[in-house]
Amino acid sequence: MRTIGARIAIWYALAAILSLIGLSIGGYILLERHLFDGLDLLNESEFQQISARLGPEYQNISEPFIETRIRETTELASTLFYIEILKPEGGIIFRSSNLKSLQIPVDAELSKFNALIDEIGEVRVATFPMLPFRTIIATPLQPVRNVMQSYVKVCAALLMGMLITSLVIGLVISRMLLTPIRNIRDTANRIRFDNLSERIQVNKAEDEVTDLALLLNQMFDRIEASFNQVNRFTAEASHELKTPLTLIRLHAESMVRDEHISNKNRETAQNLIEEVDRLTRIIENLLFLSRADAQAVSLDLQANSINAFLENFKQDAVVLAEHSGKTFELEKFESREICFDPKSMRQVLLNLLTNAIQASPENGKILLKSFFVDDKWHLTMEDQGAGLTSAQCEKVFGRFVRFSNLKHQSQGSGLGLAICSSIVQLHNGNIHAINSDLYSGLKIEIAIPI
């Protein structure tokens, strides 16, 4: 978003600057031409003055007389004009004194041109036929150059001003243009599973942004529909499955309570109750997974001290491990307050621990590490069990995954690690399994962004 805004502003400024540069160059050329024309006009008027002074009968006047007459006229404007009158056969009748012994260059084709005279500098030259002579009048270009220089300076200042104002205007315009898009982004960001029915406000103006908003709203409609479907499905499945399970359980309980029943049947009823419990847990796990898939699980996110959380877990982990003749160790480094759902993260750790305990050999060690790298909370759990092949490591977080080379796994539902994976993903983190480099067994690595 920010980059598009900046890009629009820069494009806008570039366009403004380029057009200003174009205009300035055009202006430069026109102005220069205009000033040259002015000089030419000056030269011409000087020529007319000379020819008027000489009169129509100039051909009959002697050369020295011509010289005197012209000098009388021209010396007044000696700083403005350089004048030469050439004889047709070569040689000079008149040369203004400000030229000293310098010569005005002559162009064979052009009658008006710029030329450079040493010591005097650039001049605008005009040649006028005054048969049989040729009059050459030059006037300094310096005033024109001065004007043009000032023009360039003014243009440069204008360009700088333009650059700044166009950037500012560009930013304002881009902001105005992007406001509806920003609104869309904010609304889309706000729409989560708990306010899925909120929609982006659609303006009455029928433009591209309205189209986009409408399109997004349609997408949200579909998401909401499928989301509601999942929720309805899980609620109904839950109800349809659990109500009969409740009945089975209550009946089995009444059989267990019945004094007239044989021990064998009572045992059967007991087993029934235990299986109902197991089934219930599988149903709950499956429903959790299907809700997690639809992003319909609400985490109870709150700022928690990591070390307090881990210490609390350690209390139970040590006892659980000890009970099975294993040891549990917690290695924790820096403690921070970060946002996570302690209950579900505890479930993740308990699931991992249960697996690790089952995989570990007698007296095996289980190590849980917690540390921070790159603004991520890392948790690793390692055991000294047999580990997994790398192909199995890839699949271990799948649903109902069981590996035939692991005896212990038959006890679980095959959903424990899938649930761990879901919970970690709900925290925007990732989880994977590798073979432990420290121990011989499996290492589960979790990374959760802070």
Partner: protein, 220 residues
């Protein structure tokens, strides 16, 4: 003790009614929201067991209506919906307890009893049962006048039993009291703590706790 069951499912209602009646509860059974409200307008109950999915409305709406009209009877919600959100919503509206399906009859009874007792008894700081004595303020426990060396969790576990002496407590109920979560039921954590607690209290031939298979434990 008078209990009103609001349950539309014929078989489930029957089993609950029969089970509670066997334990000498006086049970009324309503199968719709309207019926339930009729029962409540006629007489008062010590506790109400409310299923959420009812044919003529949602149990939560019904409960909200009752609470708004000033009904104070303790209510246990029975529900197949068991996400944290559902639970919180139920308790927010004014339920006193929330029992996920499938439940055991023992557990339902335990919850009803604890609700009724919550209403009546005065809180004490010392609890005594047999030769066990605990101090709720000091978090200490004595057995045969000897101070017991218990970890936090073991003490918490003992306290749950001492609050409900002689009653069968389900694993779910205990887990909720100690870890305020029922996830831990998946592990054998509770059994491990029970065995540790037993090893500190019981001597051969002198049982203090009884394991009730498929349900939980009981302090005898």
């Amino acid at each position: 003790m008078k209990v009103l069951i609001v349950e539309d499912q014929l078989k489930l209602g029957q089993v609950i009614k029969q089970g509670l009646s066997e334990s000498r509860y006086t049970v009324s059974w309503a199968r719709t929201c309207a019926e339930a409200s009729d029962f409540l307008s006629e007489s008062s109950f010590d506790a109400i067991v409310l299923d959420l999915g009812l044919p003529d409305g949602d149990g939560l709406d019904l409960l909200r209506k009752w609470r708004q009209s000033g009904l104070t009877e303790p209510v246990v919600i029975l529900s197949a919906r068991d996400t944290v959100d559902d639970r919180i919503r139920g308790l927010d509206i004014g339920a006193d307890d929330y029992l996920p399906k499938p439940f055991s009859l023992e557990e339902l009874q335990a919850r009803i009893r604890s609700l009724v007792r919550r209403q009546s008894t005065i809180k004490t700081t010392q609890l005594r049962h047999g030769e066990i004595e605990i101090d709720l303020l000091g978090h200490t426990a004595k057995f045969k006048d000897q101070l017991l060396d218990l970890t936090n969790r073991e003490y918490a576990l003992l306290e749950v039993f001492m609050q409900n002496p002689g009653r069968i407590l389900s694993r779910t109920l205990i887990a909720e009291k100690i870890w305020s979560s029922h996830f831990d039921v998946d592990t054998n954590l509770l059994d491990v703590y029970m065995s540790r607690l037993r090893s500190k209290l019981e001597t051969p031939g002198q049982a203090i706790f009884k394991t009730v298979r498929g349900v939980g434990y009981q302090l005898i």
